[in-house]
Symmetry: C2
Subunit: 542 residues, 2 copies
């Protein structure tokens, strides 16, 4: 598209460019509305609308999608709409917000916030009486166990901070890194409320010795028979950061934190990646060394492709400057409000630019709404006139020290920390005016990116069908808690990704019957179960 | 209590004053936690807690109050807990957040936000496809009807603003003003997102003529046979305010606005009282005069006690500076974090003071969390050490022009605009240490204030019992839509309050059979129904 069509921020320009509104224009605008939300065949009632005192027609009421669209997983108690999420896995829960699910209120509603999990969630009963939850505090002069009710008498702190998975953007890497294939939606901006770590430390008489790290341990139930260090959700962060910014939070966006989001108590480290924000935290320790947990020593390390994780690679702590557009990828009509979110990690966002021509030229966007502090993201917008056709749009953010968002991804084994603006471009299609009325709009799923391969559904042998049952229900811990296997929709990240490993029948039987590394032997399985399981894994991965 | 026990802001002071923590202290702290949330007989598990990998005991799981405490009104789709609200009425919905329901996250979760209504809500189906909602815009050069989807292509604005009923605090007046007996909880702070009115006006070619007001009309279904002006939710605000600050909002706290809170589209006038924030807005007009609706001409007027409302009394527009504490009224242990909210109406809050001795002396509180802009409220806190016994606590706020919150209420007929700090005092009782473990804690309801009289339940005659059915189900519109009647739990504010009017049998029969003023005759009632209805109203009000 040409430069003329790209107005700078402020609606005045684009509004004045509009030809005088016509009756036809109004109809188009209304029809466009219907198309935008339905994303399917649109029969538009046009200028009818509702009159005061009238009820909606029964026909409209009957199509009420309210119940049909609810997430049906019985482990989810939040009121989630399946259309708002890309569901990467159900066990453990791994839900990503779609690009356009992020709203325009700066803060992200819990109904629109991504849900990542390394392990199944604890029993929901722990959130019934949140004030009774206990935290062990170690590495202070007076170590002790304190309830949330106790913390509430000691201090109060409130911060707005971006919560973002270190794997957000992983799907844009081309070397197929293992783990959930997050696109843009493993991120949100949340108001957290609780008490700062520094206030806890002061209350408990100060630090004991000279610890260098803050180590938090999650209350995730651990699978039996597995070496705890291999699976425990335990992470360490530098003590300076912990004492300066970190907090224990019991409230999120004005409500007690839900189990899905780490309630009743979550460690919040503003400006750091999500893996450091320990859910259902049970133990807080000020330690001389980083924890020996696998997810600290080897996991969440920014390492070259092909290398194993180890402590000499950088840990996924501080987040880089990043932004992306949050519009839908289909638009109707000339004028559009492009919007997006921009974050500075531990620094404020200074400004944001938008390009509508693939990065050839850039215009400043306007920041919208209040500044919620340097750990929050900013909402930005720019009003643009588009000709019909396809366009590549992107944004890039600058932090308050002038550091600009990177253009390209930084290659690394696990696809962590992607902030490159090029891959985060939004490819849109603008429909011509005459198609706006009742076009069949093909819904495009955002995860349909080049490197996400969806295999054809396999026809399993009878033995393998039986083996799938063993995989899902008869192993302990369930295979899927530690292993990713596409056919079983399991997303465990503790052990090898089976689709990639492609083990032989003999390898499977050996590992399952005798154990291997951290993996315990499945002694409860009989020969028939073992054979079936091996056949299943072999068939779906070969 | 003495001055020494009252520390200034910052936890350092109070923390250092604490004697070295003892084992007993920890037990007390934990027990206190249980008491604070249960508000009933407490059996505390003490230091047991949950160990990693353990599930909660079945006993605890069985006491899960999750389902039992849900609001059961089928017209409410929000996930509300009855313990969080004072329910003033079910039809129309009139829910007040308890004092302590307001959290500490600055923004108020929709689960904790009060719900006021003058009329029953529209059909819920109007929020199924919010983008299709239509608004008529009048008084501009190019009047037209625009859908929410259309507005989304025109602009984007986000603001955080206090939503507060003009009757918030009414229960503290002693002359028994009619209307819902709100205490502190008809208020919340919300992030709204949508488009500014000024951007709509620009798009539609500018204003037509020289209008002086912005008039918004709600989509509330009107009762049949009643003069529309008597019941319609239609309000006018000065045009300067409307063009400077007002907006049309379709998103609240990051989610589409729910029906309970005025979705799909609500007029937001930041800094103004709730009555101006028109729900389900259907018509926006730029007008030369204020609307002739009853709620504009006579209602929401700040008038002397005993006077009728009329246009020469001030309309309930801009809100005054105000603050109040949001703690529970029962506390355990010496140290407490007192917290509250402070708002400046249309101005920023400069500072807040707290008194713990009934207003004899004051200390500065600390403001907590980000400043969300001048229309939002600020969260404040102060850490205080209390001796056991009863204490009267209060706060007072100063706006950025040095204007201080009033001490006393300003008497007025309808009990509007109460911002006096004296009546908003929090009377607390601090329990002695040795009682903290498993005391029976008597729950004190905040509406049990001197002027709220709860009559003994009357024993109705057989005829009156029949009449109650007529009142509730056989009149059209239902009597309760327009009238308040305590026995029927109806809260209509359009017609006279029957408990106060105390009509005779003859008066009732005359009004019902022939109509009176805006009230339509109930011609469908037979003689027996009419007699029963009259007997019922007479018995419960005499």
């Amino acid at each position: 598209m040409s430069e003329q069509n790209h107005t700078s921020s402020g609606q005045e320009n684009s509004l004045n460019k509009q030809s005088p509104p016509t009756r036809r224009g109004v109809i188009n605008m209304m029809s466009a509305g219907a198309g935008l939300i339905l994303g399917a065949q649109v029969t538009c009632s046009r200028e009818s609308g509702l009159k005061l005192g009238e009820s909606l027609s029964p026909a409209l009421a009957e199509t009420n999608p309210e119940q049909a669209n609810k997430v049906s997983n019985p482990r989810v108690k939040l009121d989630l709409n399946v259309n708002d999420f890309i569901i990467h896995g159900e066990r453990p829960l791994t839900y990503e917000a779609k690009r356009h699910t992020i709203g325009t209120s700066l803060i992200t509603h819990e109904k629109h916030l991504y849900i990542p999990n390394n392990l199944p969630m604890p029993d929901r009963a722990i959130t019934d009486q949140p004030d009774e939850w206990l935290l062990d505090v170690k590495g202070v002069k007076n170590s002790r166990t304190i309830s949330i009710a106790g913390f509430k008498t000691l201090g109060l702190h409130t911060v707005t901070a971006v919560l973002q998975c270190s794997g957000n953007g992983r799907t844009f890497y081309t070397h197929s890194p293992s783990g959930s294939q997050w696109a843009t939606g493993a991120a949100g901006c949340v108001v957290w409320s609780g008490i700062k770590l520094i206030d806890v430390v002061k209350y408990l008489g100060g630090l004991k010795g000279e610890p260098k790290y803050v180590t938090g341990t999650g209350g995730d139930p651990l699978p039996n028979k597995v070496e705890p260090a291999a699976v425990v959700v335990e992470r360490s962060i530098p003590i300076e950061k912990g004492l300066k910014d970190a907090m224990l939070a019991w409230e999120m966006n004005g409500d007690a934190i839900s189990l899905e989001h780490g309630g009743p108590l979550r460690l919040i480290v503003p400006g750091y990646f999500g893996c450091n924000q320990i859910k259902y935290i049970k133990r807080l320790a000020f330690t001389a060394e980083q924890t020996q947990s696998k997810i600290q020593k080897a996991g969440y390390r920014f390492r070259p492709i092909g290398e194993k994780g180890s402590p000499h690679y950088p840990s996924m702590w501080s987040m880089p400057v990043k932004s992306w557009l949050t519009n839908e990828d289909q638009m109707f009509g000339d004028q559009q409000v492009l919007r997006g979110v921009a974050m500075g990690g531990e620094r404020s966002v200074e400004r944001v630019e938008v390009s509508v021509n693939g990065g050839k030229s850039w215009k400043n966007a306007s920041l919208v709404g209040p500044d919620l502090g340097r750990f929050a993201w900013r909402l930005f917008q720019i009003t643009v006139n588009f000709p019909q056709g396809k366009h590549k749009l992107m944004s890039r953010a600058y932090d308050d020290q002038g550091k600009v968002q990177a253009k390209k991804r930084q290659e690394n084994e696990r696809g962590y920390g992607h902030s490159g603006w090029l891959d985060h471009a939004l490819d849109i299609e603008v429909y011509p005016k005459e198609m706006r009325g009742n076009t069949i709009i093909k819904s495009v799923d955002f995860i349909t990116k080049p490197n996400t391969k969806h295999k054809e559904k396999l026809k399993l042998s009878t033995l393998a069908q039986r083996g799938k049952e063993v995989y899902l229900k008869e192993t302990m811990p369930e295979c899927g808690i530690c292993h990713a296997l596409e056919d079983a929709q399991s997303k465990g990240a503790i052990g090898p990704k089976l689709d990639k490993l492609k083990p032989s029948l003999k390898q499977i039987k050996n590992a399952v019957s005798k154990g291997l590394g951290a993996m315990p032997p499945q002694k409860q399985l009989n020969e028939q179960q073992l054979n079936a399981l091996a056949q299943y894994i072999f068939e779906v991965t070969k």
